[in-house]
Each structure stands twice: as C-alpha cells, then as structure tokens.
C-alpha cells in the first residue's frame, strides 16, 4: 500500500464538493475520509445522485393513485394496467455526455434507461426520445443531430426495443447545451416486480455484465457541473456503449428473475458500483462488504478509487440468496456475461471494501446516501420576465401571403415531419406497434390482451421561458391530449426536468414554478407522477437553457381496436374543431420564425376546459364517431389541418371556412391550447354537435376533406390555397434535406 494521500482543499474542490460539505463529512465520520471515500462522497452527494436542490420541490408532486404499484424512488415507476400486468416506465436525461460526444452520449442514455426498466423485472417494449438542439444554423447543430440520432438508433435497434416516438425542438437556447431525454416502457407481471434492496444478512452480491474499465470516472459530478472552456479536457470521461452486451444482459436478467431466490437488483448507472451498492444497502437498512479484487476489470492496474467510481456501461448488481450463487453464475455464463460474487450483505449499516486484503472504505451507509446537505436554494422571479412579458402586436403586420407563411412554417425543422429521424429507428420490432411514429401518440398493443398503451412526450420550452408554471402545465396537457387523440386514457406521468444552474435564484424560481405547475395540473387531472429525473446545470458560460420540463404520458386503452390516428381518412368527411381560438402568439413558432422573438404571454391553459375537451374527444373516439383526431400544437390551426391532410392513408386536400374577428395570423398560426381537430362522416354531425353542447365544449365546423388543394378562407376571403402535394413535399423532406446536407 502506498501512503495515503492527504486531502487538501484542492482535492476537495476537484471533487466538486464545497468546503461546507467537506466539513460535514469530517463531522459525520469524526475523521478525515481517505481518497476513495472522498470520491464516493463526491459522487453520491453530487446533484445528479442526491437531488439536493430539487428534492424539497419534488416532494410536492402527486405520486399516488389506485393504479400506482411503485412511485418515485426506485429505478422506475410501476402502474397496474389490469390482467395481472404492470407498466414500468421512466424518462431520463443524458444531456451533458451527449453534448461532449453525441453518438456515445445518446447511445448510453438509451442503454441506461433500458436497464432501469429491466432491473424492475420488466421487458422493455417501447422507447421514446425527446431531443432539443440549438439553432439549426449554429455550426454544431447538424453534427449533434446526426450523432445523437445515430447513437439512439444503433443502440435501440440492436436491443430490439422499438423507438416509437419522441419530439424534437430547435432553439438557440440549446446552442451550448443540447438535451437528450430517453424514455422507456416495459411490461412486467404485477406481482413480480424487483426492487433495488439488499436484504438478508449473508446474501451474496453479484456483479454481472461488462468488465469495469476506466470510463466515465467522475461522470456523475461532471453531469452536475456547468460547462466552460475546459470542458474539452473532461472528455476522456465519456462512456462507450455496447448494446450487444446489454441485449445479453437483458435476456439473462429476465431469465434469472423467474427464480424466487433473486432478492434485489439495481443497475450501475451514475456513480457506478458506489451508488448501486450504497443505495441497495440503504433501502434494506443493512450493511455490505465488498471485495474490490473480485470485480471483473478490463484493464490492468485499476485501483479501488477507479473501480468504485467507474461508469462503465452494461453492468448490474444483484443480491441473491446465500447458497444460490452457483445457480446464478450458471445463468449468466450461459449468456456469456462476465459475472462474479463480489461481496455479502452484513448487518451493521457499514459499507466496507477491501483491496488486497486491506480495508480501503469503511463508511456508514445512511450517512452517505441521505446525509448530503439539504439545499434550500433561494428563488427569485427572473428580471427578464418583466421585459419579455409584453408583446405589441400592432407593430407587426400580418403576412401578405399566408400560403407562403404556412410553407415556411411547415419547413421549419421544429414543425417539419420527423420521418427522417424515426425512419432510422426500428419502430416495429416485437410486433406491438399499432400506431407507428407520425401520429399524435404511438399506440402499442399489450401482448396477450385486448388492451393497448399509448405514449407521448412533450414540452414546448418557449412557453416555459415566458411562464414556467404554465409551460409545465401545457407540457402535461399536450402530452395527455396527444394520448387522448389516439384513443387512450392518460394514466401516468413521468418527467425529466431540464434546467440551468440551480445556484442562480432565478433558475431556481423557474424550477420551483415548473414543479408547481406540473403538480397542480396532475392533481387536477388526477394523474400520478410515478417516476422522473432532474437535470440541472444545463448552462454554458452563464447562458441557461429555457426551462424544459419534459413530460411523458402513458395512456391505457381497454379495447385496442378503438385506436385513432391524426390523418384525414376520406374525401367528404366533415372537419371540425373542439375548443376555441384565441389571440395568442406569444412563444409561438410563428413569432420566432417571422419576428425572431420569443416574448409576450405564453398561451393560457384552463384546466377545466382542457379536461372537458379531452374527455369529449375520448368519448367520440370510443363511440367510433370520429375518424381522426389531431391536437393543435406548434404552428397552430393551419399547421394542424395541413398535417391531418398529409398524414392520412393518401394525401388529400381540404376546404376550410373560418370566421370571426381574430387577427388573421393569430387565427391561422396562434398556439392556443385545448384544441383538437376532428373529422367524421357528415351524418354524424348532429350527434357530435349535441354531445359537445352537453359537454360544454366549444364546437365549430371548419370545412370538408377533399380535392387536391388546401384552401383556407376567413370571412369568405381566401388566405391560403396550396396544392397539398406541394405542402406534403415541404413538410416531409425539410428535415432530411437539413440532416443530409454537409456544409451549411
């Protein structure tokens, strides 16, 4: 053994710990930690692992409900969907690694979230990805887009888990901090859920998966730090994924989980072996002893520090009953995985690790897991809001050619079809995808039942910038609306809260408001939040991203045959709108594209109206009275109508006649909430109208499906008249033209 390195203030700082935090460590231990121990504290007390800034706020979220089997706190949330089955899901960020190395960062993000799902005993059946990139014209954007998409594709495709949806926004606020949020959904037997708990003194600790290498050491503290110019130097900490090994790990885990001697399991994510072992022991209220020398390793000369903190991918920690070690080893070896017994559960609440027979770690587990200084971070309403809150429409003219404006909106990469992206993802494997990407929500059959699940992920960051409370509410509302438009009832929410530096009171205010908005609307709609993830410090040189509370919603459909899609199905069908059009252009894509600004008020949201619109839409779909349903989002009514024309079985035109005294651009392109475009055979009109009246939902007929032209008249005057195939070509191909271009 070399002589222990004394812990200097520099070393403490390098570990991202404040002097206060270090003093607390000394106090809790009643001695100085050694370097390995300091490394463990550093990782476990990082924002990423400890949620020290966010936890007090997250506690306010509604997390309970009759379907909830497991709420936040485990690897993923679990909900009862009947028939003895449970839906297991979560969303997680991999933002910082993806900015540094888009391909590997995004790939390992997908790998990580899938492990979260299958550690619970669930087979992953679908994924979503929510991506935010900088200005399309920014020099790195195209490279990052292509790298991220390729990384997601290569990993997810190899795993054989269909990537069935997602969303993509481009905005300059992400120039220095892209967001890669990955969602995964799995199915398990409701009574066979596995938790990350290391109970049973004497039980064996099993390491399984890939060997440990030097990758990602300090990953957890890196993803909790802002970027600056020295970020480049942090590069060797990037982890590299191996989807092939993960596929074997998935199959092996699901096989071993059929045994009743598997006690607990957790994947080694951020802070690797440290977080998985400490957290498992803490949940059981027990201790653990670990033999560092038994850990399979990829390189020679690795020390305890590196092994405890490595973030090598595709690794899991299992606790199995004493005496079953050989059976466990046999199953993992059948799948050609590296596996070893590396320790035991003990009874004293202490984590001990030995290297070459010498004890190198001896830490009280509860102290490490729950002892991080609680941060009650100050909040302050941001100054920019006073300035941004006003929008003077009179200084802006309505475009002379609204048809041309529509074309420009359809070409905007945020609105244009994402086919270029989802065509690179296997979205069909496992034969459950009833509605493939390209409609409001993806619909998956639940194998061996007559049910289906619908999935959608959403968040418009511009609304969040103008009003974080509303922004979060609208994200929930829109994700639910998407799910409803597919014919499913929203049952659960998972969220990924992406924000800037929480040490800035204005950012912390945004965070607090967003969580409040999320909680309030979920309570109102009675949908529990069962899992989630927080990503802070998304900020480069003081430039923070817009608040981005990404929301994924899971919906349930009792009869899968009653699913619905967004495209118009047949000429002659009537087109109608549920909801009302308001003069709301603040934060819209139209405002950004034509006036290059994001200001004014975010669209408003009335929870009761939202609820009524969704309920009516669901009723109409279940009665099979409507043949399509599509929510209005970015680009407003005109874009929603055009999309419904383009995405049916065959592109078809429409004749739309609007009236009223709203500003033309607000009527066509404003992004008012709680609106759904539906279509149906004419003979249903009266029934539908009557039902809407009873439900108290504003209802208006907009026009008819048919012909080759997309025509919109307002008060009898024609504003848009475009060939639908022209619009289709623009909308379908803009993103692939962008992605495939090499030079700018």
């Amino acid at each position: 053994m070399t002589t222990p390195i004394p812990i200097t203030p520099e070393i403490v700082a390098e570990h991202g710990l404040s002097l206060d935090e270090y003093a607390r460590i000394q106090e809790l231990l009643d001695r100085d930690p050694n370097l390995v121990e300091l490394g463990i504290f550093s990782a476990m007390w990082s924002e990423h692992c400890s949620y020290k800034s966010s936890r007090p706020h997250l506690k306010t979220l509604p997390t309970e409900g009759p379907r909830v089997i497991q709420g936040p706190g485990e690897n993923a949330g679990v909900m009862d969907i009947g028939d003895g089955l449970a839906a297991v899901f979560k969303i997680e960020s991999h933002n910082h690694p993806s900015f540094i190395e888009p391909y590997q960062g995004a790939a390992t993000g997908v790998g990580g979230i899938m492990r979260d799902i299958f550690t619970m005993g669930a087979r992953p059946i679908a994924s979503l990805n929510s991506l935010r990139f900088g200005d399309p014209e920014h020099e790195k954007t195209r490279y990052l887009l292509n790298g991220v998409v390729r990384g997601i594709a290569d990993y997810g495709n190899c795993m054989g888990v269909p990537m069935v949806g997602g969303d993509i926004y481009f905005d300059a606020c992400y120039n220095g901090n892209i967001l890669v949020n990955a969602f995964c959904l799995g199915l398990a037997k409701a009574d066979r859920i596995f938790l990350g708990s290391a109970s049973g003194v004497g039980n064996a600790l099993l390491y399984v998966g890939s060997k440990t290498g030097r990758d990602g050491i300090h990953g957890a503290s890196m993803s909790s730090a802002e970027f600056d110019d020295s970020t480049e130097e942090k590069r060797p900490t990037v982890q590299v994924g191996d989807p092939f090994t993960e596929k074997l790990l998935l199959e092996a885990c699901l096989e071993i989980m059929k045994e009743d001697w598997v006690v607990g399991v957790q994947d080694m994510g951020a802070a690797g072996l440290s977080s998985s072992s400490f957290e498992m022991a803490e949940r059981a209220g027990l201790g653990m002893e670990l033999d560092i020398d038994a850990v399979p390793r990829r390189e020679e000369g690795m020390n305890a520090y590196e092994i405890m903190l490595s973030e090598s991918q595709e690794r899991m920690l299992f606790v199995v009953e004493k005496g079953k070690e050989e059976d466990a080893l046999a199953i993992f070896r059948k799948w050609d995985l590296d596996v070893a017994v590396i320790g035991r559960v003990t009874d004293d609440g202490i984590f001990r690790a030995k290297e070459n027979g010498v004890e190198v770690v001896s830490l009280p587990i509860e102290t490490v897991v729950t002892g991080a200084l609680k941060c009650d971070r100050p909040t302050q309403k941001p100054a920019y809001l006073a300035e941004m809150g006003t929008l003077d429409l009179s200084s802006h003219e309505v475009p002379a050619d609204c048809g041309d404006a529509l074309k420009q909106l359809l070409a905007s990469p945020t609105i244009a079809s994402k086919q270029f992206v989802y065509e690179q993802y296997d979205h069909m494997v496992r034969l459950n995808t009833l509605v493939v990407p390209g409609s409001d929500a993806a619909v998956l059959r639940v194998p061996e039942t007559n049910k289906a699940l619908a999935l959608s992920v959403d968040c418009n960051p511009r609304y969040g910038y103008l009003d974080p409370y509303l922004g979060a509410q609208i994200a929930v509302a829109e994700a639910c609306r998407n799910v409803v438009c597919s014919g499913a009832e929203p049952i659960g929410v998972t969220n990924c809260l992406n924000f800037g530096n929480p040490e800035n009171p204005e950012i912390m205010w945004q965070f607090q408001e967003a969580v409040r908005g999320l909680g309030d609307l979920c309570r109102f709609l009675d949908i529990p939040v069962v899992s989630g993830n927080v990503s802070l410090y998304n900020e480069t040189k003081g430039e923070a991203i817009y608040p981005t509370p990404t929301i994924a919603v899971v919906g349930l459909m009792e009869d899968l045959s009653l699913h619905c899609t967004q495209g118009f199905k047949q000429e002659g069908h009537v087109i109608a709108l549920l909801g009302s059009n308001l003069e709301e252009l603040g934060g819209s894509e139209y405002q950004k594209l034509f006036w290059n600004e994001c200001r004014g008020k975010s669209p408003q949201l009335d929870p009761q109206t939202e609820f009524d619109v969704q309920k009516l839409c669901l009723d109409l779909i279940r009665k099979q009275w409507v043949q399509s349903a599509h929510d209005c989002s970015e680009g407003g009514l005109a874009v929603a109508l055009a999309e419904s024309c383009i995405t049916g079985p065959k592109p078809v035109g429409a004749t739309i006649e609007l009236s009223g005294d709203l500003r033309t651009d607000a009527l066509l392109f404003g992004e008012s909430q709680s609106r759904i475009v539906i279509s149906f055979p004419e003979d249903r009109l009266h029934e539908i109208e009557a039902l809407a009246k009873t439900a108290g939902v504003p209802f208006s007929v907009l026009g008819w499906v048919g012909g080759q032209d997309f025509q919109i008249k307002i008060n009898q005057k024609e504003f848009i008249n475009q060939n639908i195939l022209t619009l289709e070509d623009i909308w379908k191909n803009s993103l692939s033209h962008y992605g495939n271009r090499v030079t700018r």
Partner: protein, 82 residues
C-alpha cells in the same frame, strides 16, 4: 499525394468489436490470440497540394471528420501518388 490514415480507439476506451472478434477467434480454436483491436484504415488521394500543405490539410480532415477525437486517435503517412 496519397494519405494513409489509421484511426484507432484511444487507450482505455471499450473496444466492443475487438472483444467480440477476440472471443470468436478463441472459439474457433485460435487460442494463441491474446488481444484484438479494431480500427479504421483510410486512403485518401490528394491532388495539387505540396507535402507540407497535405500534412496540415489531412490533420484538419482527421480532426474535423475522419476521427472522433473524443475517443479515437489517428496517425497518417503521406506518399507520392503512384
């Protein structure tokens, strides 16, 4: 001018392909195989540039496009074209 470029993974970066090929070779009976690393090899023909220019241009190409310098390193030689 012909640039012959080798791009390989940096030390310590997981070489999952190499690992798979290593196993496969052992399984095929090549028990003498101790280690396998996979990389890329590229040949780029250049025209109308001096060796000096080529040196700096190819370095740039490697940095920008040909190698992912976060996890890969590269080296190259220059030869007169045949």
């Amino acid at each position: 001018m012909l640039a012959k470029i080798h791009v390989t993974l940096k030390n310590g970066v997981l070489d999952s392909q190499g690992k798979a090929v290593h196993h496969a070779l052992n399984d095929l009976g090549y028990s003498e195989v101790q280690d396998v690393h996979l990389g890329k090899y590229m040949e780029i023909a250049l025209k109308g540039v001096s060796e000096r220019e080529a040196q700096s241009r190819v370095t740039e190409m490697c940095e920008k496009l040909l190698a992912n310098t976060v996890i890969e390193s590269y080296r190259f030689t220059l030869e007169p074209a045949e």
